[in-house]
Symmetry: C2
Subunit: 437 residues, 2 copies
Amino acid sequence: MERIYVNQIQGKIGQKILLKGWVHVLRDHGKIKFLILRDITGTLQCVINSNIIEAFKTSETLTQESVVSVTGVIVEKKQAPGEVELQVESIEILSLASPELPIPIVEKNENETEQSIRLDWRWLDLRKPEKALIFKVWTAMEEAFREYWVKNNFIEIHSPKFMSTPSESGAELFEVKYFDRTAYLAQSPQFYKQMGMAAGFEKVFEVGPIFRANPSFTSRHDTEFTGYDMEISFINSFQDVICEEEQLLMFVIKTIKEQYGEQVKKFYGREIIIPTSHFPQVTMKEAKSILAKLGVTSEEEGDLNQEEEIKLCEYIKREHGHEFVFVTKYPISVRPFYHMRDTEDSNLTNSFDLLWNGLEITTGAQREHRYDILVKQAKEKGLTLEPIQTYLNFFKFGCPPHGGCGIGPSRIIMKLLGVSNVREVTYLYRGVKRLTP
Amino acid sequence: MERIYVNQIQGKIGQKILLKGWVHVLRDHGKIKFLILRDITGTLQCVINSNIIEAFKTSETLTQESVVSVTGVIVEKKQAPGEVELQVESIEILSLASPELPIPIVEKNENETEQSIRLDWRWLDLRKPEKALIFKVWTAMEEAFREYWVKNNFIEIHSPKFMSTPSESGAELFEVKYFDRTAYLAQSPQFYKQMGMAAGFEKVFEVGPIFRANPSFTSRHDTEFTGYDMEISFINSFQDVICEEEQLLMFVIKTIKEQYGEQVKKFYGREIIIPTSHFPQVTMKEAKSILAKLGVTSEEEGDLNQEEEIKLCEYIKREHGHEFVFVTKYPISVRPFYHMRDTEDSNLTNSFDLLWNGLEITTGAQREHRYDILVKQAKEKGLTLEPIQTYLNFFKFGCPPHGGCGIGPSRIIMKLLGVSNVREVTYLYRGVKRLTP
């Protein structure tokens, strides 16, 4: 008999079926045992009657979270969840779980178990249907991003994570013992996606790990995370990048809502809102002025701290009814040397961040593609040219105007599901103190 | 005017258009200049007549590989490649290339330029249309893999690259300075995709970098490469993994041929053959016996060296007309502790490699999911249990029978295009001596 999944039982009443999965709950009612079986698609109540002698005997040795193969007949049962249940005919134990689970799988209130303990036993934590949903949504999200990119003739790159020199500032860099010398782990594919522009690939994307030796312990930071990166050529300004990202995100959010809107509502109580109009934009200067009027001030010059991001988004939502806002024209002091400068105010860059409901999910810019100006900007930032000479050479033999952005998928998932800690939406979180499991 | 691509000029005869791209070739015929413009979709001959004064003047300052924006009218021209050309009306230089190119873009015979020099200037090397094609095919290949996985309800994971302990043997491991301790770079997502099985995800895939501190300089090895990994639960034997991979590869190769078969033939002279029947299988013992009859012997016990892989594939092709062969039942001596053992001969594992035209492209197996047996096998291999205890714990609280494989996409590309060196099909190759660009 071929195994079917729990979500395939519709229309099978009266039929004999084979299910495989985990013992989600096991309840002893004397001559009857109730086993709630869980597979990746859902849960189903299974009833084991003592007159099914072999199966009943097997069920007496069962422990919660054991893996079983169960055959039986699907019957209607008004009181059961889903109004059907399985009348068990046979049970085979595929893997017997140790009786003492280190964390509960079925919890009334998740916060009863401390997060760090749940992370220690992440594979048990992920058995909860609402946790598995995170990664089903992630899979759909990544497919949607890629569908957009591939449809629009982007070329995929897998750029190296080993670098001979730091890609950005040199801060928060991981060092690797690389045979008889030192390599650095890429903090972003920035240089390499720009190399794609110099190579004439015109539009590229990359999905891959980003490494940041960030010593902070916030709910938004980790030492390793997945990054989505894109870069496009022949732009007229950074507004072309913004425009592309708007279309991309509208498509992605629409696709996720179509596939998982109902389940997100069921498990996370959230209604996914598909943006339909252009995203509002404010310059950094305007953002600071709005925040000042709201009485929100900070010591961050030319950048926004977490409170400012939240307050600005609340304001935009009130005034424009939009969950997103592009903050543009960051001052050169907070942007890397390769961001193109504003022709009207050379203290500003042609750059942007995208905030979604109080959280930065993207950083982007038009890049400086003119060799001489790029060299000048690097010198002004106090950089030594020698280590970045190969990068600078990208712009010596014909390179089109280009720009792009880096997008944080874990942050998008946080906002889609209303989860406030990045550790909960990462398959296996890595931080200063965490390298396991 | 909106920019169009070279591959969009069909049906535009007599129309004024805007093209952007690189100066592929520039030829001076006195009062006429011929400019072959290249964009990511192809090349087009553009004619600049001296009576178009501004454009002609601009063209006199042009260098090869500069980036330009060109307007003009598409006209029929029998002698031109493609039988059309652009009569230029205006040229704007977007980026002027330095006149001395370090490597030629247009070469009669690529081998004229040494590979290491081409790799130094990889972004120029990649401008060659046949090189860009590698990454278009890669993009299509990765999409096809993912389409198969997503259609079949696989969940995507992004597992950490930082580990506290070696994932496999401890050999060829990169060490990272991780705050006040040492981390290791993952040599495969093996443990983490198995964690997905213990988490009840049932079927997972991952696309990501693999790090191997391999000191060798062969044409097949690098220190960092992209790996495709999959793992599936509730299998009956490793034959279920083989079956899944066969279906997957048939779908992928068919998809690539549909999209790029013509271009692969044009640029690489290769006819892609879509496998339609089950892939032949031989056990390692049978493989050795076939090779002995062919007079091919080696000191490799229970494994195949490069010559053996080639000769075995030639034999299979002659005898079975098939480019693929699964070699199964590797002895325990050459397989890691977590491979499940053969019930009939405990010196053998339920494992396989897949060879394609002489090259290993996959390693797979059924994994041992029974805690006690796994511990026993680890001890027999001389492993200390403490560093792998978290991994061992995956199997304590209910874990279904499972197996999977790791697939090398760069090796698939090598075989699709008939390229013999992995450095040529990698966006940016990393080896013992190479960390740049």
